[in-house]
């Protein structure tokens, strides 16, 4: 079953007199359990695509079904709820709350769920343990290395058991060795936990970890193929 299904998805910006299509009639399907890399040069629309399927941005036209739910016409608060339940984000800049411990950072999505779980500390601890950070629970982000920070962010993305993990240049701020560690982590999560991963990157070295590569240019998909090692 398709976890992500877009139909003629369109996002346009009006810049002065001209209209720029950041997304130009994008139709695609991503099934549950896939590991997709979205590639393209800057300005190709891959980030906009990411924001729209991440429910951070609304399309100007077209339909978007996430897990069978049409989210293209939802309001802000409904989208926030969808993000909370269905999507985990991993960003290039980690985006952890400063002056907040790793454990509390991981706990944040649980605080905004419809039913705040009583055992949220345990859940957060479990997620950190899964990423090998059990000894770092009470460290603040500035006491952690880049790789560790990114793993805290991944733990935060996983803590709500969201089926979809969106990673926007997750290795952009990391060195090569750590990048590979993080990517191997994604592969493991995809294979062992069957989490669907959509990864935006412009580095070919990173995209090789995925199973399918979609290339964007000028808001259109120019290629969509399986990644054969």
């Amino acid at each position: 079953m398709a976890l992500i299904e877009t139909d003629q998805l369109e996002k346009k910006y009006e810049v002065g007199d001209s209209i720029v299509f950041a997304l130009d009639k994008v139709s695609l399907q991503i099934s549950s359990g896939e590991f997709v890399a979205v590639m393209g040069p800057s300005g190709s629309g891959k980030s906009t695509f990411m924001n729209v399927i991440g429910c951070l941005d609304e399309p100007t036209a077209g339909r978007y079904l996430l897990d069978g739910i049409d989210v293209s016409q939802m309001n802000r608060d409904a989208l926030a709820e969808i993000r909370n339940e269905k999507i985990g984000f991993v960003f290039q800049g980690f985006n952890l709350l400063s002056r907040t411990t790793a454990l509390e950072n991981v706990e944040v999505p649980l605080l905004y769920s419809k039913h705040i779980p009583k055992d949220r500390k345990d859940k957060a601890r479990e997620a950190l343990k899964l990423l090998g950070l059990e000894g770092r629970q009470h460290h603040n982000p500035n006491q952690l290395s880049g790789g560790q920070q990114q793993r805290v962010a991944i733990a935060r993305a996983l803590v709500n058991n969201a089926p979809l993990l969106l990673a926007d240049e997750p290795t952009g701020n990391l060195d090569t060795k750590t990048s590979i560690e993080i990517m191997e982590l994604f592969v493991r999560l995809n294979e062992e936990k069957h989490i669907t991963i959509v990864l935006v990157t412009h580095e070919p070295d990173i995209s090789i970890f995925s199973k399918r590569i979609i290339r964007f240019l000028d808001g259109k998909i120019i290629s969509d193929q399986e990644n054969k090692p």
Binding site: L56, D77, A80, R83, N95, L97, R99, V108, Y112
Partner: protein, 409 residues
Amino acid sequence: MINLPSTIKISLRALRVNKMRSALTMLGIIIGVGAVITMLAVGKGASNKISEQIATVGSNLIMVMPGSTTTSGIRLGSGSFQNLTRSDAEAIKNECSSVATTAPVINGSAQIVYGNQNWASIVYGTDENMLEVRDWTLASGRNFYEQDIRSATKVCILGQTVVDNLFGNDDPMNKTIRIKKIPYSVIGVLASKGQSMMGQDQDDVIYVPISSAQRNLFGRFLPGTVRQIMVKAKSAEELERAETQIKELLRQRHRIGPNQEDDFTVRNLTQMMQMAEEASRVMSLLLAAIASVSLLVGGIGIMNIMLVSVTERTREIGIRMAVGAKSWDIRTQFIIEALILSLIGGLIGVILGIVAAELLSIFAEWTILISTFSILMSFGFSGLVGIFFGFYPAYKASLMNPIDALRHE
């Protein structure tokens, strides 16, 4: 639904990060709340003091005096007409339903002698109802008997000042003093009342039976006439009705036609003093209003800092929104932060206000009264200020676009 304890924790942490800034913001509220509490305490103290003084004059008091008279074209002042009588006083007491009791008065100043001491004071000729009318108790001795009034006994009741000046440390009871050279026996000493509102010494008095005063001391008053009648109404609510009843009764008794003016004046003492009390109450409210302006300014300080805080934490807001915070969650977080600022400030302000008021009462010797109501009110008001001025920054935060907020540097 947002989790309250963790939101409070988040807010406290955010406030701790900028200790100096939070403290200065709170200072606005602290000063505001402190000022309101101090002003209310001082104002309440003042109006309370006035109430106490009203009580020393006697509560629910009405004074009836003769009107003015004209002698060969010269108009004499009020009280110059000797047309009020003791039977008028009796009639008022018996026929006016709103009147509790009355006391007739003739008075004049006289030199009093005891042993080798002498002292000038005001001598009041009155009857046994005087003490009740003026809510006055005796420190020692007894009140007049009805018989003393009827048979013009030469007995007197002294005020504390007179006792101090004539007797020093001696016991005045049953001693004989001379008023205008006439010997009077002391049968009672009044409890001290202190100064009146006008600054008069209320204890500088001597009471003697009215009959005896007329016969022996103040012969210029015709027998039976009085200089004033003091009336005590049954209650504060019945003061006005009593006043009307007295006027009607006296007009009838003095046979005054429908178009003629009263030949007497009725003064409602208590009402006058209630007006003074009201004035001081308005004054204290005014003071509190001025003080609450500073509370408002403190609120603006909160708003200012919250706006800065929202801008500084744009990225945090973006992160929270990305992981599922709704507008309401963000709004609540910032309102709670403003509320915490203002409530902590309010709490410190309450303590400081109480301390300041106490210091005023100790060093400046002002009468103060700190009421629970004023504490609760100013504390509650500080909370309202927090919510009111925190709302706009919080609302602004909740409207942020998560994508832009995440990209914010």
